[in-house]
């Protein structure tokens, strides 16, 4: 038996996501799926002058996958791709159960998903947005923007 991890932060981001919409100004997009459970999202980013100016996602899936993507966008919008990369690493560390208290604080609301690390079957739901982000951060456009900024 696991604790109930559906706290207010999670249910709120699931039912009232701020970033779940199309993004016409996106400079890059990436599809991410968890085939076994049917979580399915498209992550869109607008990266200009080395800054993630805007971001959104669309799709469907369980509350954990949807809320986690929304929380992730809260964290990374307005940041550089390097900063986003850093958050991604912290998040992955958290859901594999090896994060320090200070690091956890950096993750702000995303830390609400910490107890997922005890539910191996759901880790991939929480990680879907972040794994999709990882792919995007390796895109030429994102990296190029990065070079242009100097």
């Amino acid at each position: 038996m696991a604790d109930n991890f559906y706290g207010e932060v999670l249910t709120d981001h699931n039912l009232h996501p701020q970033h779940k919409h199309e993004l016409d100004c996106a400079t890059c997009s990436q599809h991410g799926v968890n085939p076994s459970c049917g979580d399915d999202i498209v992550l869109n980013l607008e990266v200009r002058n080395g800054i993630i100016e805007n971001g959104s996602f669309t799709g469907s899936g369980c509350a954990i996958s949807q809320a986690s993507a929304d929380i992730m966008l809260d964290l990374i919008i307005g940041k550089t791709p390097e900063e986003a990369e850093h958050y991604k690493e912290l998040f992955m560390k958290m859901i594999s159960g090896g994060i320090t208290d200070e690091e956890l604080e950096e993750l702000e609301e995303a830390s609400a998903l910490q107890s997922i690390s005890k539910m191996p079957a759901r880790v991939k739901c929480a990680a879907l947005g972040w794994r999709t982000l990882e792919t995007l951060l390796n895109f030429k456009e994102v990296k190029n923007e990065d070079i242009n900024k100097g």
Binding site: M1, A2, Y6, C62, R122
Partner: protein, 408 residues
């Protein structure tokens, strides 16, 4: 032991370790009564040797234990002879055995294999692979949205090219009992072999292979109180006799030379290598338990609990039950969705209340595509569940949307 005692959770040691657990995932696997666990233990403590091999007393004992289990299975499903009972690892292996052995010999290019659309992947993938290898065609028999298959639809789907029809007696999603005897008669008129997946029926209703007339029946011990790693394939003797071996190795031969071998008689032709004697003994103990309790008592109890759950679920407006509108047609399997909540989240909420249910596609993805849903949640009960389990299930079900942040 009295029926009442046999029906009780008290015989199931897992509930000593997890006293508060409401275990409602019985279609996935059932818990094991003490009698089964002790029988397996006793075999390894008192009778273990390599069966069918040794020329000494202990090995004779082991052989008797193993073959005694075969006789028990024969009686349990009404087969004509022990030669028709092949021991495997599980229902999946039994179905694969048919596809590889019977299929390799009997399916040719352009032949058709008809599969019920609600089949478990274990009764679908072996046929898909066989069809691909042979250039044969897979066709699907469709059911109504509530899971009903009709004789009329089957008649229409069969063609002179249909060599095999694969269907579960009870689907692991709908829980509905299919009219297998009628299907068998229709198939046989068309010279089509019928494979019946009994994984969800054999544990819950009396199954008699001669009465049903099916050519093959597959089931797993672990879904009927028995140990994991033990399964059964029933096949008609005249079919099994003509089939080539599935796996090869020790124990399945009569005579081996440098050039080749002649194979052992049925059923050992299909049981290569050292067998799962402990598993067979456990299966026999499970059959003894079921026989002592009797299917009448099992069915009455499971029907009662299904009705209680069904009626409780019906009262909750946002719960949608997949399948028949009569609880009697569910055989302890209640698959459902909750408006606005993903099934994995439903299962997690139940887990936080110490109630085990299943969520996902239940190894029946084509069926979920057919129903137009990604995934579902499923509660499945057994006779050893009680009213309290069901009441807790219904009460948590009523709280799921609130727990997921919906108002009211």
């Amino acid at each position: 032991m009295m029926n009442k005692e046999l029906l009780s959770k008290q015989n199931f040691p897992v509930f000593d370790a997890y006293p508060g657990l409401a275990y409602l995932d019985n279609s996935a696997t059932q818990q094991k009564p003490r009698q089964v666990i002790e029988a397996v233990n006793r075999y390894y403590c008192e009778e273990n040797a390599n069966p069918l091999r040794g020329l000494y007393e202990l090995s004779v004992k082991a052989t008797d234990a193993y073959e005694g289990a075969r006789t028990a299975v024969k009686g349990f499903i009404g087969a004509k002879s022990e030669k028709e009972i092949i021991f495997t690892r599980n229902a999946s292996e039994s179905l694969n055995l048919i596809a590889y052995s019977w299929g390799r010999e009997n399916i040719k290019a352009d032949d058709e294999i008809l599969v019920a659309v609600s089949e478990h992947h274990s009764d679908l993938l072996p046929w898909q692979i066989l069809a691909k290898q042979k250039g044969a065609v897979i066709r699907y028999l469709e059911c109504s949205q509530s899971g009903e298959y009709t004789a009329q639809a089957l008649r229409k789907a069969l063609t002179p090219k249909t060599k095999l029809f694969a269907v579960a007696q009870i689907s692991n999603v709908f829980g509905r009992l299919n009219p297998i005897k009628e299907f068998t008669d229709i198939c046989h008129e068309n010279k089509t072999v019928i494979v019946c997946d009994g994984a969800q029926s054999v544990p819950h209703i009396p199954v008699d292979v001669q009465e049903l007339g099916v050519d093959f029946l597959a089931f797993s011990a672990h879904k009927m109180l028995g140990p994991m790693g033990m399964g059964v394939l029933y096949g008609k003797e005249e079919l099994l006799e003509k089939m080539p071996p599935f796996l090869s190795g020790g124990e399945m031969i009569e005579y081996v030379t440098r050039e080749g071998a002649t194979y052992a008689e049925l059923p050992h032709k299909f049981e290569a290598g050292t067998v799962n004697a402990g598993g067979a003994v456990g299966l026999k103990a499970a059959i003894d338990y079921i026989n002592e309790l009797g299917f009448e008592a099992i069915e009455r109890r499971e029907d009662e609990l299904t009705k209680l759950a069904f009626e409780g679920m019906k009262k909750i407006p946002y719960v949608n039950i997949i399948g028949a509108d009569d609880p009697h047609d569910h055989h302890g399997i209640l698959t459902f969705t909750i408006e606005g909540v993903h099934p994995h989240d439903i299962a997690a909420v139940f887990d936080s209340e110490n109630i085990a249910i299943r969520a996902g596609h239940h190894c029946a993805q084509p069926l979920h595509q057919f129903l137009g849903v990604q995934s579902t949640a499923r509660m499945s009960l057994a006779f050893y569940n009680d009213e309290k389990d069901i009441e807790r299930f219904v009460s948590v079900l009523g709280s799921v949307r609130r727990k997921m942040g919906y108002g009211g």
